[in-house]
Symmetry: C2
Subunit: 216 residues, 2 copies
DNA sequence: ATTATTTTTTAGATTTGTCTAAATTAAAAA
DNA sequence: TTTTTAATTTAGACAAATCTAAAAAATAAT
């Protein structure tokens, strides 16, 4: 069984592995709001527990055991996010911090019952997939909105940025999950995108478009 | 803001205050599964934070501030217990350990929304009152079943023992909250009680009767 | 191929909560 | 009232997770 802190490290390493493998000490330090020296200490501990493979000065990768533990934390985090939005009427920009705490509650029964209560959701409020109890993800295929061409259509099914300011911005523009959009024009000057959504025409920056995920 | 551990101490001191005030170091140590020396250390810390009044060798009492904090933890604990039973189909003997963890999640919004979602319950699955957000309890009047005389009737509205074996025992006997009972006989020999419940006649020990709370 | 820079690690200290063992105080018994 | 016993506190140590400052290794630049 891992401590609260160990779980946080495993989760961060899991997320960073997608971007670069092995994961650098400094990138963990940045994400976990701590110093590189502290990360080195913890990595050694996780390595002793065989949750990560660690080569000095190279970085870490998760072992099979570590990966399973990490996916389990992600599963709990995302299930709680669904609960907060669906049952307690939280907005999608309010759930992250609370889910960061709830994800560490240790009870298999709790997680399985919660999953059942929520009717086995496949994605969280940001469109991220929820792994099942064995660690399997439904494979969802996304395209960044910024990659769509003029006149292409699609449905908003996810976001790749979870900060409150970003999510509030999308909410204000009406760009929420499940909405149907069409790219009406791509502005040469700044790469911003003009969209058609529910018969309205709106313009979003390239930066915003990059973080909106579309399925067709 | 208090740490996880500090919150646990406050909660235990709060519960023990009902039995004896001031609360002794040893009784805290026993309940919190630790040594008296550790309790002394923590008490000093809580005293510095003005959460308890502490007189060496005498014991501790909660300050107004400490009492409010403690009641808040009790509130969260009991709300989560209701959630687990009502929404996730936990049995009343399965909720305690998980609620011990959930009670420490820090989010006012979470607690208030949970309360609302559960439709502002007044008691938890063991019949214990749930304080409102200002710390006020609905005053419920209980009598121990062991105090009832022959032929007296009442409704089971609480238990004063929360251990899983005890609660499972009651469940098996059909002695659950809301059930109507009548004392048909009190056995002189061992003080055990014969009850009428739903046209069945059952016998419970004096020990068990002491921990069943009745309202009329 | 050196030198400079960045990244990572080590060494030693700090904080929180805990412990054991010894010392102190309070309460009970003689 | 003195002695014995029980409860509590102090002193000093320890584990977990963190930090700063300095050393070491890897990478980039000249």
């Amino acid at each position: 069984m891992q401590s609260f802190t160990e779980e946080n490290y495993l989760k961060i390493i899991y997320h960073l592995s997608v971007i670069s493998n092995p994961v650098q000490t400094n990138s963990i330090a940045e994400r976990i709001q701590t110093k590189a020296a502290s990360v080195t200490d913890m990595i050694k501990k996780l390595s002793d527990k065989e949750l990560v493979n660690y080569v000095k000065y190279q970085g870490v990768t998760l072992t099979e055991k570590g990966k399973l533990a990490a996916i389990n934390i992600v599963r709990r985090h995302r299930l709680w996010e669904v609960f907060l939005v669906e049952k307690l009427n939280f907005k999608w920009d309010q759930v992250h911090e609370v889910a960061e705490e709830l994800e560490h509650i240790k009870s298999t029964l709790l997680v399985e019952r919660l999953d059942e209560f929520l009717e086995f959701p496949k994605v969280d409020p940001h469109g991220d997939p929820i792994p099942d109890q064995y660690g399997n993800f439904a494979d969802l295929s996304f395209v960044k909105l910024s990659k769509l061409k003029t006149n292409e259509k699609g449905t908003i099914t996810g976001v790749s940025e979870h900060s409150s300011p970003f999510l509030k911005h999308l909410e204000k523009l009406g760009l929420t999950l499940g909405k149907r959009i069409e790219v009406s024009e791509i502005i040469d000057f700044d790469g911003s995108v003009e969209l058609l959504i529910e018969d309205r025409k709106i313009n979003i920056s390239k930066e915003v478009a990059k973080h909106i995920l579309i399925s067709k």
